[in-house]
């Protein structure tokens, strides 16, 4: 077994067999999105240098940008003390959020307890997506 196979097999999966993956912009360090990888998606991410995930809702693998073209080039992968989570630094092509924002985290909690949008849309989702992400 290769060192990489051993590394992937030693990750601590949740009860759905998944790891949490936090995708961050390699330059600004901003969190772009959070999604899930199983060992196969992690291996494919490493092999191809493009982020791949498991969709809990659609129950299928997907590559970020497969529909929009807004792919993510992997620069570095980190894991945490528990090895149940990875942080993936990427160069984001286009934008990460299917709502048209660069980051999915485009809303900030206000002092009044509501959400305010604190980012600018960088594309029109209606023109990019037929459906889904």
């Amino acid at each position: 077994m290769s060192q990489l196979d051993e590394t992937i097999q030693s990750m601590k999966l949740d009860d759905h067999g998944l790891l949490t993956a936090v995708i961050v912009d390699a330059a600004s360090k901003a969190v772009l999105m959070v999604a899930f990888m199983d060992p196969k998606a992690l291996a494919e991410t490493i092999r191809t240098g493009k982020t791949h995930f498991w969709s809990r809702s659609r129950k299928k693998y997907w590559m970020k940008g497969e529909e929009s073209g807004h792919t993510q080039d992997v620069q570095a992968i980190y894991t945490d003390c528990d090895k149940d989570c990875v942080v993936v630094e990427v160069v984001q092509h286009g934008a990460a959020c299917h709502d048209g924002y660069r980051s999915c985290f485009y809303r900030r909690l206000t002092a009044e307890g509501g959400w305010e949008i604190v980012a600018e849309k960088v594309f029109d989702p209606g023109k990019v997506y037929g459906k889904g992400t």
Copy 2:
């Protein structure tokens, strides 16, 4: 019902009733740790200005730093397009990781497929913790 109560109740919980919480350093934007909040932990985080979580393994609430003193002062809270995740920007006192590193993500994947430690320990866990985080 207050606006904040409505905001908290409108979050989309996973099948364990939890949100993923990504804790980032307010200054450097580095991801410090990833943990879980239920609506009560999120409300307590907002009310007190200190991060509170639900421990899936210990099945109890905990405040970061309750044992170590390494608390996190909340500066801002963001949510994503699905409202199933929050990013919490904090001022970290001491260090986030119970292994003694400032961030839990102190290991980076090498070209050979192993993990290399890429951070310096900032405290001795044996002197700070009797047990656990």
